[in-house]
Subunit: 326 residues, 2 copies
Amino acid sequence: AMGGDSAPAVEVEGVSHALRELPPGFLVQLVGQPDAIERELDRHPEVDRGRLEIVEASEVIGMGEKPLAAVRRKRKSSLVVGLSLQSAGKSDAFISAGNTGAILAASTVVLGLHHGVERASVGAMLPTAFGPSLLLDAGANVDASARELACFARLGSVYMRDVMGVSAPKVGLLNVGEEDEKGGAVVREAHGLLRDQSGLEFVGNIEGRDILAGHPKAGHVDVAVCDGFVGNILLKFYESVGKLLQRLLANGDAGLLAHPDIRAAFRFLDYSQYGGAPLLGVRGISIICHGSSPANAIKHAIRVAVHSVEVQLDQHIKAEFERNGA
Amino acid sequence: AMGGDSAPAVEVEGVSHALRELPPGFLVQLVGQPDAIERELDRHPEVDRGRLEIVEASEVIGMGEKPLAAVRRKRKSSLVVGLSLQSAGKSDAFISAGNTGAILAASTVVLGLHHGVERASVGAMLPTAFGPSLLLDAGANVDASARELACFARLGSVYMRDVMGVSAPKVGLLNVGEEDEKGGAVVREAHGLLRDQSGLEFVGNIEGRDILAGHPKAGHVDVAVCDGFVGNILLKFYESVGKLLQRLLANGDAGLLAHPDIRAAFRFLDYSQYGGAPLLGVRGISIICHGSSPANAIKHAIRVAVHSVEVQLDQHIKAEFERNGA
């Protein structure tokens, strides 16, 4: 509950919204400083306290802190305490709007990685006109080896299949051209690994335009694989497109911004800021939200977490790496 | 004249448009297979043949060919012949819609690099609501050393200042976060080099959203520096945004796509496909167009080339690297 820029106010409000929508069996644990959380809960008398537990965590990891060092030092942070609940079997999923690097580090350390997974990866869902596309890694790792890229592809494929319900998710490797031999050594090697990987619908290299416009041959691509440097820059760029359009249209016809189709288009583009990004590859469920997430985004992230638990994402990822080897 | 997907038809049509707008002193050389060019010129009787010269080049480098090998083997290609005119002092600028890698290779080999320039870089102009932003490298090099990234920054800064008329262009280094220590080793080293570089308005790291939305502190960024892998993916992604919007709006109110403000917004976004991208760092002027450029884009590229010659871009780049060392 202490992660986001406006914690714990936004977290508590998001939980209040989520509890109204979630199936009755689900309970929420709010991890953090009890006084601060109680103060916010006082403003939400609608919350069914019988479905809520407050778990004390006295420390907070700030946005500016070095991830791994902070995780090691602050064992009583809401991040470490919250994840430890899961590793101890006392919770099924973890959600935070805190420092992304720290969530990655703590999730990897506390939950551990699935056997065969090289590195955990943040998957970001990009809305396209043909359906969502999962971009990963979206910022967990600033670089990635060929084996790690291949691992991201498999993690993303399982997520799109089992959580998003895409029957045979198409996976593309982001590159500067369609041809097999394009790109630097790492991407070329990853291409070879992916081509030889069984059980994966690998469509080959995709270009930057293919995410939104579809691949010329394969059509809509469900999973776009890249290292975290490219993914993070691309994701944030996408998030700013709505702002550009708003500015472009703001100087003209005043009624246009109020037009329902235009409003729908902006909502569509803003989608990228809502909801959590799954951290894939760790043993368990860990969902990362923007630090600036509004309550609605927290609610959506809780929904993603619940759905991931319901479909047993964790078991599917374990099975994928057992079946197809490391 | 033989580079683009519809060569030489589009090239000849673009030249016809350009000749109507260019100052009288400028002449155009069409380099390629004279028969094919003449056939197209027959369809454009409006062209003032006194301002046009056809230079024979019997070979053509295809889109699929390996750049450097093709340049070495096909000395009579329109690419090599056209660039050689410039190195021989018989022309001032070169424009092609051919194979980007081959244009880069041939320009580097035939024109040479300015003293102190590590590597040539393709600059792509991204329209933002606050003015254009030059993204470089936009695909010439799939990776880049820290020194090369610093070099791209200086090339971009000179271009924005002397060709685009921005008095003190702000330069940002694309990264996954604002903080100095973000990113991998190469980007961190480049950050240090840029910070210490005199005569450069370096605003530090910028994030993916800062290109379109402006940097939180520095505002609009004129030059965004990255390696060619990131730049190429980002540029192509940007080019597909218009398509996404078109699809989003196509299902709703039929009149909306015809609304003048919406049409203007689409024209604005489509801008990225028009006009040439300067190849910076070579001795001379070399402008790269999309293979799928329409005649209008060829015309715009000619205008960019003419303007680059008028402001003596080449001399300014030479001076920048002489003044501030390699």
